[in-house]
Symmetry: C2
C-alpha cells in the first residue's frame, strides 16, 4: 500500500506557523511568522499534511478489504484468557452490541487498540497507566469561517493575556479547526455547562477581536478531557497480548501526534508480530516493542508538557523556541529508539555521516540502475516486512570479491542469515502474504527474489561498464534495488547518498547497512576494502546481528 497519494490529493499542506498576541499594552497583532519545518530538519516533504482521520482509516481499510480482510464492528472485547490449547493459546470473549450475544474465539495473539479506557489493557498484569494527576480539557471545532483574519490558511497560535489561547489549523474543504483549552486551575475546568460549542465560539471571537469571526457552517464540535499517562506495560509476560495507541498512552491533542504516534506503535509491532507468527522471532525481538514505543510515548508527553506550558503562557518566543527544539520530533523524522538488540553500534563505527542506529534514514536521491529512474532511496524498496541489506561501494567491480563472498554465504546454509532465509522462504511459501489486485503495479516479487526476510541492495558511484549480470547471485537477482549514486543535485542538500549517509567512502571501502522493516537504521559497518577477507568478516558480523533476534529453525 502506498499511503500518501490519495491523501495528498485531498489533504491540506501547511508550511508555516503564525504567532498572534494581545496584551494589555497592545491589541491583537501578528508577533511573528515562522516556517514550520526549517531546513535544519532534513525532510523531503517539509510540511504538515492535514487530512480527516476517516480518510486515513479508509485507506487502510480499503487495502485490507482488497486483501480479503474485513473489520468486524459492533463487537466489544470483554476478556482474554489463556487456555491449554497449543496452536491458539488465547480465548477472547466478546459481546455483540446489537444482540448482546456473547461470543468466544481462539487466537494466537491479541492486540488491543481499544482506546484510553482499553479493556485489553486491563487484562495485562501491572499495566496501570501513570502520569499526570489531573486531566486537561479542550474544546475542538471544525467549521467554515467567515472572517477577515488574514492567516487562516496557516497554522496560527493566538494568545490573549486575558482570555487564553486559540490554535487554528486549516483543513480540507475550506474548513478551519479551532482548538481552545479551558483555562487550567480556573472555574472553567469544573463548570461543565461551559464546555459547549457556544462557549468555545464566543471565547474564540473574544480572543480574535477586532477581527470578524463567524461560522458559515459548523461540521463538528468535540470536547476532549485528557490526562497525560503511559501504561506501565504494553504486553503481557507471555508476549501474546499487546496494546497500542490510546490504549497504551494518552496525551493532549496538540501537534498532531495522536494518530501518528498510534500508527507508529502498530507499525513497530506489526513486522515483529509477523516474524513471531512465522516462528522466526526470538522472545527478545518481541521485548523491543514495549521498550521502543514506551520511550516514544514518554518523549511525546515530555514534549507536550513543555509545549503546553509555552502555549498556556502565550509566550510566542518560548513557543517558537520549543518548536525549534522539538521540530525534528514533531516531524516524525527525529522520533528515535535507543540502543538494543535491533539498534546497535558496531564496534568499529565512529558516527561519521548521518545514519544512526535507531533513527530513520535521511532522504537521498539515487538513480535506479535498471530503468534510470531517479528515486528516493529511503522509500524505494516497498515495505514488505523484510529487512534491507545495502552494500555501498564506489566501484562495484572492485568490490566483487567482497560481494561474492557474502552472496555465497547467504545462499547457502553455511551462514546464519542463509539459514534464516531458508526457514523464512519455507514459511512464505506455505503461508504467502495476502495479495491485493493492485500489488501487480508494485510487483512485490521484485524485492524478495532471494529471501522473504532480506532485500539486497547495492549503491555504487556510476554505471561505467557495470552490467547487472556481472554481480553475484543475491544482487544479480535484485534487479530493482541496484542504484547509481550520481544525482546529488536532486538531493535536499545537494549531497550524494554516500556523502550524506556515510560521510563518503575512501577508495575501495565497502559499507554494509542493515535497515529494519519499519525503515529505522539497525546497524552499519565500514569495511576497509572489497576483498574476500573483508567479505568474510561481513558475513560473520551479519550473522551475529541477526542471530540476536531471529530464529533459524
Amino acid at each position: 500500500m502506498r499511503l500518501a497519494e490519495p491523501l495528498l490529493r485531498k489533504g491540506v499542506r501547511v508550511y508555516d506557523i503564525a504567532f498572534w498576541k494581545s496584551t494589555k499594552e497592545k491589541p491583537l497583532h501578528r508577533a511573528g511568522r515562522e516556517i514550520h519545518y526549517p531546513p535544519v530538519v532534513d525532510l523531503l516533504d517539509p510540511y504538515i499534511l492535514l487530512v480527516h482521520q476517516g480518510m486515513v482509516e479508509s485507506t487502510f481499510e480499503d487495502d485490507l478489504r482488497e486483501r480479503g480482510v474485513v473489520v468486524t464492528r459492533n463487537t466489544a472485547f470483554t476478556n482474554v484468557r489463556y487456555t491449554p490449547e497449543k496452536v491458539r493459546p488465547l480465548t477472547v470473549d466478546c459481546m455483540q452490541d446489537v444482540s448482546q450475544t456473547t461470543k468466544s474465539f481462539g487466537a494466537r495473539y491479541v492486540v488491543g487498540t481499544d482506546g484510553a479506557h482499553s479493556k485489553v489493557r486491563k487484562c495485562i498484569p501491572n499495566s496501570t497507566p501513570v502520569g499526570a494527576s489531573s486531566d486537561s480539557i479542550w474544546g475542538v471545532l471544525d467549521g467554515v469561517l467567515d472572517t477577515n483574519f488574514p492567516d487562516i490558511w496557516s497554522k496560527v497560535v493566538i494568545h490573549s493575556d486575558k482570555l487564553g489561547s486559540v490554535l487554528m489549523i486549516p483543513r480540507e474543504r475550506n474548513l478551519t479547526r479551532l482548538y481552545i483549552e479551558m483555562k487550567p486551575n480556573s472555574d472553567e475546568v469544573n463548570l461543565k455547562e461551559r464546555h459547549t460549542q457556544e462557549f468555545v465560539q464566543q471565547r474564540a471571537q473574544d480572543i480574535m477581536q477586532p477581527y470578524r469571526l463567524k461560522w458559515r457552517s459548523v461540521e463538528w464540535f468535540g470536547r476532549y478531557q485528557i490526562g497525560q499517562r503511559v501504561a506501565c506495560r504494553f504486553t503481557d509476560p507471555e508476549q501474546r497480548v499487546y496494546i497500542a495507541g490510546d490504549a497504551s498512552h494518552t496525551h493532549s491533542p496538540k501537534a498532531a501526534q495522536g494518530m501518528n504516534t498510534s500508527m507508529h506503535d502498530s507499525w513497530n509491532l506489526a513486522w515483529k508480530l509477523n516474524f513471531a507468527v512465522r516462528e522466526l522471532a526470538k522472545p527478545v525481538l518481541m521485548d523491543t516493542y514495549e521498550q521502543e514505543r514506551k520511550k516514544i510515548a514518554q518523549d511525546l508527553i515530555d514534549f507536550d508538557y513543555e509545549h503546553a506550558n509555552a502555549f498556556a503562557e502565550g509566550d510566542s518566543q518560548a513557543l517558537a523556541d520549543n518548536f525549534a527544539k522539538n521540530v525534528a520530533f514533531i516531524s516524525g523524522y527525529g522520533v528515535s529508539y535507543g540502543l538494543n538488540v535491533l539498534n546497535m553500534h558496531s564496534s568499529s563505527w565512529n558516527n561519521r555521516g548521518n545514519l544512526t542506529p535507531g533513527f530513520l534514514l535521511p532522504p537521498a536521491k539515487v538513480t535506479r540502475f535498471i530503468d534510470a529512474n531517479p528515486v528516493d532511496i529511503q522509500t524505494d524498496i516497498p515495505a514488505l516486512g523484510q529487512f534491507r541489506i545495502y552494500f555501498f561501494a564506489n566501484d562495484a567491480i572492485a568490490a566483487l570479491p567482497f560481494l561474492d563472498t557474502v552472496s555465497n554465504a547467504h545462499i547457502s546454509t553455511a551462514s546464519y542469515v542463509g539459514r534464516v532465509t531458508q526457514v523464512a522462504n519455507a514459511s512464505y511459501t506455505s503461508q504467502p502474504p495476502l495479495a491485493a489486485p493492485h500489488d501487480q503495479f508494485v510487483c512485490p516479487e521484485r524485492y524478495t527474489p532471494v529471501s522473504g526476510v532480506f532485500t539486497y541492495a547495492l549503491v555504487t558511484a556510476e554505471r561505467g561498464t557495470l552490467e547487472i549480470e556481472h554481480l553475484p547471485h543475491i544482487l544479480r537477482e535484485s534487479t530493482f534495488s541496484i542504484y547509481l549514486d550520481d544525482i546529488p543535485e536532486k538531493d535536499t542538500r545537494g549531497q550524494s547518498c554516500r556523502q550524506k549517509w556515510l560521510d563518503g567512502l575512501a577508495g575501495n571501502e565497502v559499507v554494509v547497512v542493515n535497515v529494519r522493516p519499519d525503515g529505522y537504521v539497525g546497524c552499519l559497518r565500514r569495511f576497509s576494502d572489497g576483498g574476500r577477507e573483508s567479505g568474510a568478516e561481513a558475513v560473520e558480523w551479519l550473522d551475529r546481528y541477526y542471530e540476536g533476534f531471529l530464529r533459524d529453525m
Copy 2:
C-alpha cells in the same frame, strides 16, 4: 479533475532510451544510451509515463460519471443534418447496435471522435483526408518476458541490418510492449498470413539473438495498418460539427503521440465550445480550432516521417539526432500554435524571457501567499475553462495605482472585459458547471470569485509589509492566486519566475500575461511603471485582445 496522480501510481516512468544494433560486421550490441528528455527541454517531469489507455479513459469516465454524465455505448452514429429548428439546429441519426433500432435526437453541436473511418467526418463537406498513398503495417505485442536482455526497463530501439527493427517499451504490471514494422516494400506487407503473433514473436527473437527471448504470458496482440493522413477540414462551415482524434488525423503508433494528440484536440476544442454554448464566442474563436490543431497534426506527421525513416534505416545516430531535434515536440512541451487572434505579439514585445504566444508556460516555482505553499505556478490555478490574467510587479505596493485602475475598469461595464464578465457571470449563474463531490477538495470557487471567465493573479517579489487586504478588488478576492516569487532554488533551472518567464523586471515595470484556458500563452505586454496611466493603457490593451474573439452581449 487532476489526471496525473492515480495514473502515476499505476504507470511506468521511462527516463532513458537505449540503442542496440547488429550489422554484418558486429553482432547485436548496445550502440548507445541517452536520457529521454535532456535538460534542453525545460520539463518538470522529464520522463514518459506509460499507462494503459483504459486507465486514462476510466479516469475521464469516472470524472464524468461523478458529474452526472454517462457515456452511452453500443450506439452508432449514422448521419447528422441541419433542421430548421433554432435551439438545436442539428438532428443526429443513430443506430442501436443490439436491436438495430434507429434513433434521432436534436443537438446544438456534434463532435465526432469516431476514429479513422469517421462517419461524422463524412458529413463535413470537403473533409477528405490527404497524405501518404500507402499504409504501413505494424505488429504490436504486450506480454511478460522471460529474457536475459539487460535493458527491457528502458525504451529500446533494436535494429538488425538484415531483419529490421524492434521497438521495446516497458509497461505496468511487468509487461513489455514490442513494436515491429513489416518491412516496407517487401513481401511481408502483402502476405497477410505473416501478420500473426507467432510471426512477430519469431521476428523479435531472431533480431534479439543471442539473447534469450521468451514470453511468460501474452496479454494482447494487435496489428495496425495505418496511413498518415490529415482531414482537409476539422469543422463544417456552420461551425456546428467538429472532428477530433483519429477522425481528423491518423499516423503510425510510434512516439506515443496518438492518444496524447487526440486528447489535446479535445482540450483545444472543449473550452472554445463552452464559450460557444454560452454565446460568448465570436465565430473567429471557433475558426482557431481547425487552424491550430491541423497544424499540429501536420507537424506530427512530418516528425513521424523523419522518425520512421531514421528508424527503418536503423541508423542509431540518425535516430538520436532526430530525437534531439524533436524532443520538445515529443514531450508535448514544444507543441505550439501559430499567431492568430488568440496568440498575439503585442507591438511593444521584444521576445525577452521564455514566454511565447502560442506556446505553453515553462515550469516555475513560487510561494502561494495565503498558505505559504510552494507551488508550480503554471498549473496551480485549476483549469475551469477560464482565462488567467497574471500581473507581475517587483513591488506590488508600488504597482497599486496600476492594479487599482485595472480593477476598477474590470469590475464595471466601462471596459469590454468587465462587460464580458457581466454576461459570463449571468451565464454561469443560470447554467453552472456540472459539479462533482471531489470538487470540494479543489474548491473551484476560490478561482472565479470575480469572473467566470478570468482568474486574476499577482506575482510579486516578496511578502514585505504586503497584506492581501491592501490589494484592489479583483486581486483582494483572488486570495489563492497571489504569489511570492521567492524560491528560485526550487526551479528546474534555479531561476525566479520573473527571471525565467520575463527576463526579469526593471524597477517598477509591470507585465501583464494572458494565459488561455488550455494553458497556452495568449499575449503579454510590458508596461513602464505601476502608475494609473500605464494601468489605463493596460485596460485598453486587454479590451482590444479579448474583443478579438469574445462577445460582450
